[in-house]
Every structure is written in C-alpha cells, then in structure tokens.
Symmetry: D2
Subunit: 98 residues, 4 copies
C-alpha cells in the first residue's frame, strides 16, 4: 500500500527553534531513499506505507535522543485504492483548475 | 516507547456519513485491547508505539475493504521521555488549573 | 453558520507543561458561553462560526500575553449544510454502529 | 498580529476528487492578495491574522455553495511575538541545518 504522508514534528522543551530537529528528520528520510517535499509547515513524503511509518518512528526516536523530552508528531496519511497518485499529481490537478 | 495518540479517519467517496467506518475502527482498537476515548472529532488511544501504529494500519486497510476508495487518516502522537502520562492525567492537569 | 470545532493549542518556549495555558483558554471559551468538551488531545467546541473563531483568537492573544513567545494553534472545523449536528450526535452515531 | 497558516480543506459528499474545490479557494486567497504556497497536502498562507481567517471563511462558504454538503477544514496557525518570520525563512532555516 502506497501513501502520501504529511509529517510535522514539534519538539517541546527545547526552546523556540525547531530547525535542528527538523533537519535531523529530513536527513533520516533522505537516507532511507524516500521522496520528500519540505514546506513551511511540514514535510510531504511519498512511499510504501510501512517504510514511511518506520522512517517517522526513526525520526521521533532520534529527536528524543537529541534532547527533546516531549514531542508532538502530526501525520496525515492519504491512501487510495482507486488510482495511484504522486505528490506532484495532486499539486498539478489543483493548478489546472485555477 | 509509549504513546498517546489521537486518530481521525475520513473516508472519502462514500457519502457524508462516516459512522459505519469509524465504528469499524473502534471495534478493531478495542479487540486489540488498546485503551481508547472516543470524542466528537476523533479517538484518543493509549498504548505502546508499535501496537498503536499497527492497529491504525489495520483500521485503514479495513475501511478500504469496506468500500472507501480514498481515506485521509490524521494521527497525532504525543511521546515523552521525561515522565509517563495517561490520557486522564492530561485532562486532569488542565481541569486543576481552571 | 454553525460549526463543530476542535482546538489544540501548543505554547512553545515555555517548557514541557501546557496545562496553565490550556486552562486559560478553557476559561475564555466558557466565559463566552460556548459549549465545550475537553479531551486528552484538545477541546471540542460547538457554536456559531464567528463566535468560535473570535474566542480562539482571544485564546491565542491571551497565551502570548501569559508569556509564550511562539504558539502553534490547530483548528479543525466541521461544517454542514445538509443537517444540523451536535458533538454528542457525532459520538452517538458511532457508538450505535459498534 | 501576523500569522503563517496552513490550510487544508476536505469537501465531503462530492466524490473522490477535490481539485475543483481547492482551486476555488486558491483563487479566493490570491484575489485577496495573500501570499500563498500550494503543496501536496494543503496551502500555506502568510498574512495578517484577521485577513487570513476572513479568507478561509470565504473559502468554506464558497465550497458549500459549489455543492459540498459537508466540509472538514484544517487550519494550523503559527504565531510569534519574539520575531517576525516568513514561510521561506522557515524552510531555509531547516535547509541550512541539513
């Protein structure tokens, strides 16, 4: 089962800047060979369900190890059985209607 | 690693009523012995990280099998390394400050 | 236009405990006479669209004044034109299918 | 008060394709002069708090008028009092740490 996921990780108890922690997770996602698109409010990820979820778990554990005592992790999963769709397909289908 | 999760599943392409699909997932969560609290906008779940994520995957697959061609699944994971905390602890800590 | 909203406020830069800030917002919502249901991952609110959004804005401003330099505010709005529905209706419609 | 918002609108009861409805909202946001970045899971918006919220309300009403009997609207608001920050600042601060 393929999935397009949006991931947003909020490390809590480490001050107001998240970039060090988000960068750690971006590197993990890329090392696992997942296709990602970073945006201002999160990271979109395309891949096989279990691989994506395993990478997210890896991110959470690594950010705790980096020193965050509390983490809020938001995940949105889009799954379809009627057709396959990429992240860019989703963007283009909107742009084509504007 | 324990987690408090919030799960919200939106089946798409099956009309405006979601209750049949949400009930299917509630039954899955309960059959797996997870502690849950259903509310108007989702279900909160308490358990071990892998067990919770495995149950959510089971829900998604079952709702596709029930006929939903597209599903949007929102998951919020709260993890802490500084202390253990239950769903009721979180509610009471707010109520005690009101 | 009526709305059922879910509100989750994450104050950033004030340590790992949110309860003081959430309680401030709960009091604001109640003082405005809105119907609310607090749960482990947020607060569900029932009311007229503008009144709910105005109360949420009031919460954000108050939590900044309490000392949070950064806030992440998550709002889910459920609106329907086909029928009116309460928070309890939503919960019962699922429970009746389980 | 300025805000960086993420908006995700899910029209319910109109089948599996959302692009027509999302495009309607994109046009509304642009006509109001707001700075936006469309991505695969939503639209990020930069602007003054009340203007952004007013535009979102306009989107919801227009999508109901286009025929969606039920809408789920997810909004994430990022507000800061310690510094001003743009959507691109947020992306670059992560990229600089990778």
């Amino acid at each position: 089962m393929n999935v397009i996921a949006e991931l947003s990780i909020i490390p809590v108890g480490v001050g107001v800047s998240f970039s060090k922690y988000i960068a750690e997770c971006e590197n993990i996602l890329q090392n696992k060979g997942l296709s990602t698109q970073l945006h201002a409010e999160g990271t979109n990820i395309e891949g096989e369900f279990d691989e994506v979820m395993d990478a997210i778990k890896h991110c959470v554990k690594s950010i705790h190890k980096l020193g965050a005592p509390r983490i809020i992790t938001d995940i949105r999963l889009s799954t379809r059985t009627d057709k396959s769709e990429t992240m860019n397909d989703k963007i283009h289908s909107v742009e084509n209607r504007m």
